[in-house]
């Protein structure tokens, strides 16, 4: 079988295993909606502005969680349990397995985007930006791929599965707070604005906000944002290819 055939076959098995753990699957999908409702209630009690901000913001949160957070944690667990080592002992190419994991995480992320966008449209009257659909799809695919690669790269820094939640959250939660995701960054000091602009979460959020901005002038594509996200993805991919470990670290 070709590399692509093996990869797509592996995606199907990953998907089957994913849905056989209904509790995990349920909360993967409910978690972002929960955040969306809470933020809308806490900030500005359902004003149209809050809805317009938090719909794209929670799309960003959902995609990053489904790719970066989910992949780095589950791959670390699979590594600790010896699942990765067992696969390494078969002729399945390493890339087929890792790309399959990335594709599956990205598909879950895209399904989440559909759910969040629909929820925003129904509950908060935030129209789905059909006019910017090509820009939205490109942005989502680039971001999902980049955050998958970064998630795999992060496993290099995680010594064992017990340490995974702490390390993963420490790398991503602060960024959600300073990157126009949990809180609008308009009133933040300039240095914080500059600092958060180094990281890909901020650029993903800015790109999605632009796509959702009905009053935007010019193209819905933001080349700078896509470039920064893509660059981080490439760095993550290079690190993952170079240092990824198939065996428990202990």
């Amino acid at each position: 079988m070709s590399g692509i055939g093996l990869t797509m076959r592996q995606v199907r098995y990953e998907n089957r295993a994913f849905w056989r753990n209904p509790a995990a699957a349920f909360f993967t999908f409910v978690f972002p909606l929960l955040f969306m409702v809470i933020f809308n209630v806490v900030f500005a009690a359902g004003s149209a502005d809050a809805g317009r901000f938090f719909t794209p913001a929670i799309i960003v949160f959902a995609v990053v969680t489904a790719t970066y957070t989910n992949l780095s944690m589950t791959v670390t667990v699979a590594r600790d349990e010896g699942i990765l080592k067992r696969l390494r002992g078969t002729p399945l190419p390493a890339a087929s397995y890792l790309v399959a994991r990335m594709i599956h995480a990205a598909l879950v992320a895209l399904l989440l985007v559909v759910i969040v966008a629909a929820f925003g449209a129904i509950a908060y009257d935030v129209p789905i930006p059909w006019d910017a659909l090509p820009a939205m799809l490109v942005t989502l695919v680039v971001a999902a791929a980049a955050f998958c690669a970064l998630g795999l790269a992060l496993t290099i820094a995680i010594p064992n599965a017990d340490a995974a939640p702490a390390i993963v959250n420490a790398t991503i939660l602060p960024l959600f707070f300073v990157s126009n995701v949990f809180i609008p960054i308009d009133n933040a000091p300039q240095w914080l604005d500059a600092l958060s602009s180094i990281f890909p979460v901020r650029h993903f959020a800015d790109a999605m906000l632009r796509i959702y901005d009905a009053a935007r002038v010019g193209s819905a594509f933001s080349a700078l944002d896509l470039g920064v996200i893509g660059l981080w993805g490439v760095i993550g991919l290079i690190l993952a290819l170079r240092f990824f470990s198939w065996e428990p670290r202990r």
């Binding site: 093996l6 295993a17 056989r20 080592k85 067992r86 390494r88 002992g89 078969t90 002729p91």
Partner: protein
């Protein structure tokens, strides 16, 4: 036909020399056991052969491949059962075997593999719902899915209860019956004795003995002892020598046939019954403990 050839294999972890110059030869179709205590270098050796670890020195050929440089094509023809058993709990037995079979160019029929390991009744059950012994069978099924010529079993029965061990042994024998070459590691002497055509005893990173289970450690030439009791009043002639402890005689000999003949000839002519007569040869366990220097500890 040679399945595995190893010359001068060395492997260190930092300052620790785990394997210090090992030579091995495994013929195609034989069951070969690497026997030794924990920490002797068994797993390091087998993981170098499987391509999981890089060797520091030595020549290694597995089915004609160098595991350090040709792991890809080599892995199409080998099956591996590791000590640790990570596997997705959410797929069924059949799905799992089918998934692994798909990685190989010439897989074995999935139903046949499931039947071979005796899991046909559990084939639609999820891995997470299986007992420990059944899960170990899944490990074996997964290793067999690609119809390998050579199978590595790293401590296949560690932690098994006696009946599960017997079942596992039957399985390994049936694999040998299929013409597979099997390389297993174990720290149970009886396991090596029961399964292996040839055994290498490894201790402190070196092979300290090798041979068939029967000849291992030159057991054939080793001293046997003849034990018996005499009725009250009977005296053993001095020419036999030996020790007497609590009414029982123990004679050491390297020629048990000759000694028995002389002894029974004397006993018959004197009309004496040699009660509880037995010839005791050192067990593989005695040899093993002596070889691995654990005799005092035991």
């Amino acid at each position: 036909m040679t399945a595995i050839e190893v010359r001068g294999l060395r492997k260190s972890y930092g300052q620790v020399e785990a394997v210090r110059g090992i030579d091995l030869f495994v013929a195609a179709g034989e069951v070969f056991a690497l026997l030794g205590p924990n920490g002797a270098g068994k797993t390091t050796t087998i993981e170098v052969l499987e391509g999981f670890r890089r060797r520091d020195a030595g020549d290694v050929s597995v089915l004609g491949f160098d595991p350090a440089r040709q792991a890809g094509p080599m892995r199409e023809r080998i099956g591996i059962v590791l000590q640790s058993t990570g596997i997705s709990p959410y797929l069924t037995v059949r799905e799992t075997v089918a998934m692994f079979a798909g990685y190989y160019p010439h897989p074995r029929d999935v139903d046949e593999v499931v039947r071979l390991v005796g899991l046909d009744e559990q084939q639609d059950r999820r891995i997470g719902k299986l007992s420990g012994g059944q899960r170990r069978r899944v490990d074996l099924a997964v290793a067999l899915a690609g119809d390998p010529e050579l199978l590595f079993l790293d401590e296949p029965t560690t932690g098994f209860d006696p009946s599960a061990r017997r079942q596992a042994w039957e399985l390994v024998r049936s694999l040998a019956g299929l013409g597979k070459t099997v390389v297993l590691t174990t720290h149970y002497m009886d396991e090596a004795q029961a399964l292996a055509d040839r055994v290498a005893v490894i201790s402190g990173g070196r092979i300290v003995a090798h041979g068939t289970p029967a000849t291992l450690g030159a057991r054939d030439a080793a001293t046997s002892s003849v034990h018996f009791s005499l009725p009250d009043g009977a005296e053993l002639p001095d020419r036999f020598g030996g020790r007497r402890t609590s009414g029982r005689y123990e004679l050491e000999t390297s020629e048990p046939t000759r000694l028995l003949h002389e002894l029974t000839t004397w006993a018959l002519s004197a009309d004496i019954e040699l009660a509880a007569l037995e010839v005791i040869r050192p067990s593989l366990e005695d040899v093993y403990l002596a070889l691995t220097g654990e005799a005092e500890a035991a």
